[in-house]
């Protein structure tokens, strides 16, 4: 089918034949992006920026914007909207916006600058990203992301972000997993930190200018809807326990991802889903919640005491070679004593074109299979399998820099990866310059999130969602160095240009604290907190969180099956009951109370976990990091089913005891042809 703009529709809307999740959900009306642009793809964003109405400077002063979350997306949006002259209020749970978890991103940020003249372009970055996301991202949003990528670098350099440079003083690049060009800009292994500090400083500049008001140690616990529109939030001051309402013309959530649903993940301890989940319960659809990215290069788990996992930048795969002993009997030998011919460089063997730089999902799964086959290295750890049987497995593969050290010298390697090597040494007590590192996949980033249209507006009018908290740009998988790109593109460039179309209708009718909807939202929060405090059971919130994490990792982690997911849903429902009858929160609600904070987050994770399993159960296909064992090729690779599942699964809250409602948004590609991914 040809369109007027000369593009061709390359796939048909899917017809879902399988229904594994029957009985766990109800089917709602199909969903479309009401503001999706059409026309030649390269012009869509440019045209939209022009079409969106303007708000004149005198009117901007009369408009109030609430931004929840002050990482890359929220901080950048606050800086830009504040500078434009709107009244912005920002909220974060940390003691300073500079602590947002964007700060922990290590490797880099992509931009189609083509500084290396190696064939890069906006279109190629767009293509790589859609392909990397296994054709489950929206092409409109991804193209816009690729287009804005070059501006991000300009912006950050102007702010003083100290990117790596070459001797001539120009910017340096490196390559990342899933691509064959060098388009990644970096600041050693601390790119996220430098970008975040840039956004934070830009935002603090606006705080000083009086356009941005900053609330720290505040947690958003409810969204306030008036006549179906988001008009404010309810927060808890985490120091005094005060429950406050904040009203505005528009609310932006830039609250990051929910990887902590797995308990062990690379997320910060405080990263949570509460803001997004409270919005979901009020009518914002949650899209593709089961899309979790498992990152291949994390430091392996060592025992039950562990509170989190630490990622080692994927950039290490540029120089490190991944291998396991060919013979399981070599598992506990000193790796340096294992001769070359007894090593299996499995990624280089199976995927010769990309080698160690295959995308994250491919590298992760390959490592898992090696360990499942008994070829893993490191300490034996206890696991419980699907049938409840205990087993001892080694969960680690080597990431070896011997060859890189002989090529670049130890100093050369130190210059590129110094802090990562130090971090590894500190956590494991081993010197990675002398003996190969051990790595294993861990939960890192989530591609699912609140559903948004092209303007980043959720299914609640006036509620916008930016960065990792929305679902739109990464599909079923995320390539390296694309998360920072999305956060900053949304914050600096996209949201400020789309939100004005909404705000051009404002200022909206003034409401005050006594409005019935405001009072109701506030009461809801107070009653909920009171409920946590008065259960008086025996178990800490943390113990529920750990149990949820084990269920999620076992049944909704790297590999999923119909039986496993159904079992998980049952376990999670039991866990939810146990939570409400056996939770114990000590202390009082009117002081800093970290147990109370955790309780609120954990129950939201439990509810989300159930929805993730239902989403995973419905999607009987393997794509990206989501591997359904029932859907694989003869040689064990992920097998997509575009004829059935080329859609975004947007879930509507079905009520406290109701079933979630599935709305499908068809993914129609006009500028790109859907292909099976192959990295061989």
């Amino acid at each position: 089918m040809a369109f007027l703009d000369g593009t061709t529709q390359t796939n048909q809307p899917p017809v879902q034949k399988s229904d594994d999740a029957a009985g766990y959900y109800t089917l709602g009306a199909p969903l479309v992006d009401p503001v999706a642009p059409t026309g030649p793809i390269a012009d869509r964003w440019k045209n939209r920026k022009f079409e969106n109405r303007l708000v004149n400077p005198a009117n901007r002063r009369k408009l109030d914007i609430i931004i929840v979350g002050t990482g890359l997306a929220g901080g950048a949006a606050a800086a830009t909207l504040g500078e434009a002259g709107y009244n912005v209020s920002t909220f974060c749970y940390q003691d300073s916006p500079r602590r947002a978890h964007s700060i922990a991103a290590q490797g880099g940020i992509n931009a189609a600058k083509n500084y290396k003249e190696d064939g890069d372009s906006t279109h190629r970055l767009f293509y790589d990203t859609v392909k990397g996301g296994d054709y489950r991202a929206r092409e409109n949003n991804v193209y816009r992301l690729a287009e804005e990528s070059a501006n991000i670098i300009d912006q950050c350099v102007a702010q003083g972000v100290p990117f790596a440079r070459e001797y001539g003083g120009l910017l340096d690049n490196r390559s990342f997993g899933g691509v064959q060009v060098s388009r990644t800009f970096y600041a050693r292994g601390q790119t996220g930190q430098q970008l975040l500090i840039g956004a934070y400083q830009a935002m603090e500049r606006q705080v000083a200018a009086g356009t941005v008001k900053q609330y720290t140690r505040h947690e958003m616990l409810e969204v306030i809807l008036v006549d179906g529109k988001a008009r404010g939030i309810v927060t808890r001051d985490m120091v005094t326990g005060a429950i406050d309402t904040h009203l505005a013309d528009v609310v932006v959530l830039a609250t990051g991802g929910y990887g902590n649903v797995f308990y062990l993940s690379t997320n910060a301890m405080g990263s949570n889903v509460t803001a997004a989940w409270r919005a979901h319960r009020k009518g914002a659809y949650m899209a593709n919640p089961c899309y979790t990215q498992i990152h291949p290069t994390c430091i392996p788990v060592t025992g039950d005491h562990q509170s989190k996992l630490t990622l080692m930048s994927e950039s290490l795969r540029n120089d490190g070679r991944i291998w396991v002993p060919k013979d399981p009997k070599d598992a506990d030998k000193d790796p340096r004593d294992i001769p070359e011919e007894a090593r299996d460089y499995f990624l280089e063997r199976i995927y010769p074109a990309f080698g160690n730089l295959v995308p994250r999902d491919i590298a992760s799964r390959a490592a898992k299979y090696q360990c499942d086959d008994g070829k893993g290295v490191g300490p034996l750890v206890k696991e419980v399998d699907e049938h409840g049987v205990e087993r001892m497995v080694r969960r680690g593969v080597y990431l070896d820099f011997t060859e890189a050290i002989s090529r670049l010298g130890e100093d050369g390697v130190r210059e590129k990866y110094d802090n990562l090597f130090d971090m590894y040494a500190r956590i494991t007590g081993e010197n990675p310059y002398e003996t190969p590192m051990r790595i294993y996949p861990a939960v890192h980033y989530v591609m699912g999130g609140l559903w948004v249209d092209y303007h980043l507006q959720s299914s609640i009018e006036g509620l916008f969602v930016a960065g990792e908290a929305n679902f739109s740009d990464h599909g079923a998988n995320r390539l390296g160095a694309s998360a920072l790109m999305q956060g900053l593109a949304d914050g600096y460039f996209v949201l400020p240009n789309t939100i004005r179309e909404y705000l051009a209708d404002g200022p909206f009718d003034k409401i005050d604290e006594s409005h019935p909807s405001v009072v109701a939202a506030r009461t809801e929060v107070e009653e909920r907190i009171n409920r946590f405090m008065t259960i008086g059971g025996t178990r800490s919130a943390d113990s529920f969180h750990k149990e949820l994490g084990r269920i999620m990792w076992e049944y909704c982690g790297m590999e999923r099956t119909e039986t496993g997911l159904k079992k998980a849903i049952g376990l999670i429902r039991d866990l939810k009951k146990a939570f409400w009858s056996d939770l114990k929160v000590l202390g009082t609600a009117d002081t800093l109370n970290q147990s109370l904070e955790k309780a609120g987050r954990v129950i939201d994770f439990i509810e989300l976990g159930e929805l993730m399993c239902i989403d995973a159960l419905n999607r009987r296909e393997s794509c990206g990091g989501h591997f359904r064992a029932e859907s694989q090729t003869e040689d064990g690779e992920a097998m997509r089913h575009d004829d059935e599942f080329a859609y975004v699964a947007a879930w509507e809250f079905g009520g406290e005891d109701g079933l979630p409602v599935l709305h499908k948004e068809d993914l129609i590609y006009t500028a790109i042809e859907m292909k099976q991914r192959s990295y061989k």
Binding site: A100, H101, Q159, G160, G169, L170, Q214, R426
Partner: protein
Amino acid sequence: MNLTLKIWRQKDATSAGALKTYTVDGISPDMSFLEMLDELNEQLNEKGEEPVAFDNDCREGICGMCSLMINGQPHGPEVTTTCQLHMRSFKSGDTITIEPWRADSFPIIKDLVVDRSAFDRIIQSGGFISANTGSAPEANSVPAPRDKAMRAFNVATCIGCGGCVAACPNGSASLFLGAKITHLGELPQGQPERYTRVVDMVGQHDHEGFGGCTNIGECAAACPKEIPLDVISQLNKDLRTAMQMGL
């Protein structure tokens, strides 16, 4: 490992605090210091005693949220963040004293949690480059010499934890300040505001009640990101130049 912990307990900003003694057992040397505290808190919760409040977030040594004076040293005996300090640095049977940051400019909120918002206000006073969004020139149109960019990066790694202030007998934040002044001052983009920036930031630093620098060097010795002491020389040099300019 079995440990005796002496921990500062303080109900809120206005109450008096005191050290309280606890014992924990079953601590693995592979645990981080914060995981050891998690374990203590689980044990306290079971016993019906309110868990100890402490700040932490990324647990990867980069967000700067974790703090704690451990046996009188910021972040403890190793040059690292508290989250990256592991129990293998201690021996079974040890007694460990755990207190909040000690500095008037970082008032205690509860137990081991302090208020470091003064750092945000110092940044607000000038710790940025005034670049409006959307109007930036092409990134490679302003080359930055590699050695200067490297130095800027090396000091931009400051995580704003406040360990330098806690280590300083004067409660000075000069290392934090010097790191930011040097980061922005080394780059071509940072030049236009270079001298007004240092005057404004030093002014805010003093206004917040941080002490003056007397070159003791405890800050740099304690800094988990190994920010070098010479950023303070850079700070003083820029301040002197600004004074000569009459700013």
